[in-house]
């Protein structure tokens, strides 16, 4: 696992395993092509900086295609529950 420069987490704008829809009209706000999570539909893909086993690296959801994934959001480090 190579170390990567810290950057911002960002959705890729596509669902896992597919390329983002390219709109030719550049005035269309980016949000218009943003996919949102829905049960029964493909998960929105994203890449985010991560901490993993002693290293600062990054994680991309679509790299896990072919595996079951448990994606857990939580309010914050050092919170109580």
């Amino acid at each position: 696992m190579s170390e990567k420069k810290a950057g911002c987490a960002r959705p890729t704008g596509a669902v896992v395993g597919e390329s983002a829809v390219q709109k030719s009209d550049e005035t269309t706000p980016k949000e218009a092509v943003m996919v949102t999570a829905k049960v029964g539909s493909k998960a929105p893909d994203f890449e985010a900086p991560s901490y993993y086993r002693g290293e600062f690296t990054s994680v991309k959801l679509s790299d896990y295609l072919g595996k079951w994934v448990l994606l857990c959001f939580y309010p914050g480090d050092f919170t109580f529950v």
Binding site: A6, P11, V16, S41, S50, G54, K67, L70
Partner: protein
Amino acid sequence: MSAVAANHKKLQDLGVEVISVSVDSQFVHKVWNDQELSKMAKTDVPFHMASDGPGNVGKVYGVFDEITGVELRGRFIIDPDGVIQAMEVMTPPVGRQLAETIRQVQAFQHVRASKGTEACPAGWKPGAKTLKPGPALVGNVWKEWSPFENH
């Protein structure tokens, strides 16, 4: 998250990869692992702790709370095709039950292995009876399955 870290082997045995996400930086993730989580879970966190500072990922998953600027307790089970099979979103003060997540994973894996020919009724656990949807079962579920025996 310490519960997931402590019981990670159960998820690994089911072939489940874990990714945790919060708005904290990866640097704070490291310190939380070192100072607290590793002591609670008796192991270093064995999965990617992703950092979503601006809440961009949380927004597309519908779990980013604009007012508090943090992410709600959202849990998503994603299958090998990348399809979200289950989601649960809770406000911050109540924690999750990992055993329920594991039960759901086992049920979705069972349905997938049956190529959709079987369905897991309420409260299903591995080894319990499944239902085989089809014309013969319509109106006859009461003969096949009892809510009293399964809860």
